[in-house]
């Protein structure tokens, strides 16, 4: 900025008309903050999802009869294991348990504690877990949301499950998951597989479904055909389908930018156009546009930084109260997720461009138009 009188005048205008500028900046900051917050939350959840998709098995096999899912017989395990190229075949026993008075549900998961990998992981993830002690009785480990729910409903350290035959099964709470894993464990209850079978009155020789991997991707189609030949009532869910389902779940970007445009246009209506009589006192249109450009750019930049700072603090320091419900839902157990900071600078740059360019244009175009076509305006 070679011309320092220009800079001095620019700062002077910003300072003297600070209340008007602050008004515009506050509205713009809130718009940017809202948008950035939504993006931060969705990015954080998407990052977590990506992490989970890594752990997702390549295939899940279920049994469908008359369009309804039913339990899978244990023999299927061996049949799948015999298919060439298949590895890590894992039986899964789990299900939704309804807490009917409140229409809420927990995800009950049966764990085979004799499985070495599961046992090690439990010892690490749940603090103060003595596996022997845990296994000595029929107990459960609950997620943070379930823990709070039980406390709210006066279940002190236990819950009375009712099996389909109407029998009450009292299960004490042994421990709870770390709050940091709320994003996946909030509504989760893990318990020994046999206990879970008795709650759901499942046959001992059945499983909910079977998960397995096929490391060689070229074999996927082949394995799929073989599976369908095994049983007529088999339903195979591939990792791709689940990935797609998750992508759809948080693919808000398109809609967001549309909303951004609409809101930005609304803001422009609020901008009070200030007419400067500068053309009459020797300013060229270029000079007026230059001044307006810098003035608006500073406001846009400051609003953008404000918005991002507010959004960052709101999402990553205060865990996005209210807004997180939009993403995580609020119909079931409320989930207090500590979001992992993920900042996509490319997306932030896009927000800046999508927000800044129309903003600056909306100020400069009328200024230019009046300066060019209405010389009398400058004389009034």
């Amino acid at each position: 900025m070679a011309n320092s009188t220009f800079l001095r005048f620019l700062l002077l205008l910003l300072y003297q008309y600070r209340s008007k500028h602050a008004g515009i900046a506050v509205i713009s900051s809130l718009i940017v903050a809202l948008l950035s917050a939504v993006l931060f939350i969705s990015q954080s959840i998407q990052a977590e999802t990506a992490l989970q998709l890594k752990a997702q098995p390549d295939f899940v096999v279920q049994r469908i009869r008359a369009g309804k899912r039913i339990d899978v017989p244990v023999e299927w395990l061996e049949e799948i294991q015999e298919i060439n190229g298949v590895s890590s075949v894992t039986p899964r026993v789990y299900g939704e348990y309804y807490f009917s008075p409140r229409e809420e549900h927990f995800l009950l998961f049966g764990v085979d504690f004799f499985d070495e990998q599961s046992s090690k992981a439990i010892e690490k993830i749940v603090q103060e877990t003595d596996l022997r002690k845990f296994l000595s009785k029929e107990q459960m480990i609950v997620g943070d949301g379930v823990k709070k729910f039980l406390q709210e409903h006066y279940y002190k350290g236990f819950y009375n499950f009712k099996n389909p035959d109407g029998e009450i099964i009292k299960v004490p709470v042994y421990s709870s998951f770390d709050k940091e894993t709320n994003i996946i464990s909030n509504d989760m209850i893990i318990m020994p597989m046999e206990l879970l079978r008795s709650i759901f009155a499942m046959d001992e020789e059945t499983l909910t479904d079977i998960a397995f991997n096929v490391p060689n991707e070229a074999e996927w189609d082949n394995v799929l055909t073989k599976l369908h030949l095994l049983h007529y009532d088999i339903r195979v869910i591939t990792k791709e389908e689940i990935t797609k389902s998750y992508h759809n779940l948080f693919n808000y970007k398109g809609g967001l930018f549309l909303a951004l445009y609409l809101i930005t246009i609304m803001t422009f209506i609020l901008i009070i156009y200030q007419r400067y009589a500068m053309v009459a006192v020797g300013w060229s249109i270029k000079d007026v546009l230059k001044l307006k450009f810098f003035e608006t750019s500073i406001i846009v930049l400051l609003s953008f930084i404000n918005g991002v700072i507010i959004a960052y603090c709101y999402v990553y320091l205060f865990d996005a109260p209210l807004l997180s419900n939009l993403f995580l839902g609020s119909e079931n157990l409320s989930n207090e997720v500590a979001f992992m900071p993920v900042v996509d600078f490319g997306l932030l740059g896009s927000i800046f461009l999508f927000f800044g360019i129309p903003f600056i244009a909306a100020v400069l175009i009328p200024v230019w138009k009046i300066a060019v076509t209405e010389p009398k305006e400058a004389m009034k």
């Binding site: 995800l107 990998q117 992981a121 994003i183 389908e241 960052y312 990553y316 079931n332």
Partner: protein, 84 residues
């Protein structure tokens, strides 16, 4: 006036620096490790979303995909993700 602008610039620098520091020093690895360990217990990677059981995962899809077979839920519902 200039002093006011300098104070403002200083405040912004401080805020941006602390955010950058928070982002850089966040213990991502331990967070990831905990999640992965939890996943390795249950072998069921699903998000613990607080949606009602039959709620659609995608807005707009509140009905079964095929009216002739209402039991056959589309794969984008939470019931699909969670299993029954």
């Amino acid at each position: 006036m200039i002093k006011g602008f300098l104070v403002l610039a200083l405040l912004y620098t401080a805020a941006l620096t602390s955010i950058t520091a928070h982002m850089l020093f966040f213990k991502r690895d331990s967070h990831r490790e905990k999640i992965m360990q939890t996943l390795s217990i249950v072998n069921l990677p699903t998000l613990s979303l607080s949606t009602s059981y039959m709620a659609a995962g995608i807005r707009g899809y509140t009905k079964p995909s095929n009216p002739s077979y209402p039991d056959m839920m589309p794969i984008d519902t939470m019931s699909f993700v969670y299993g029954e």
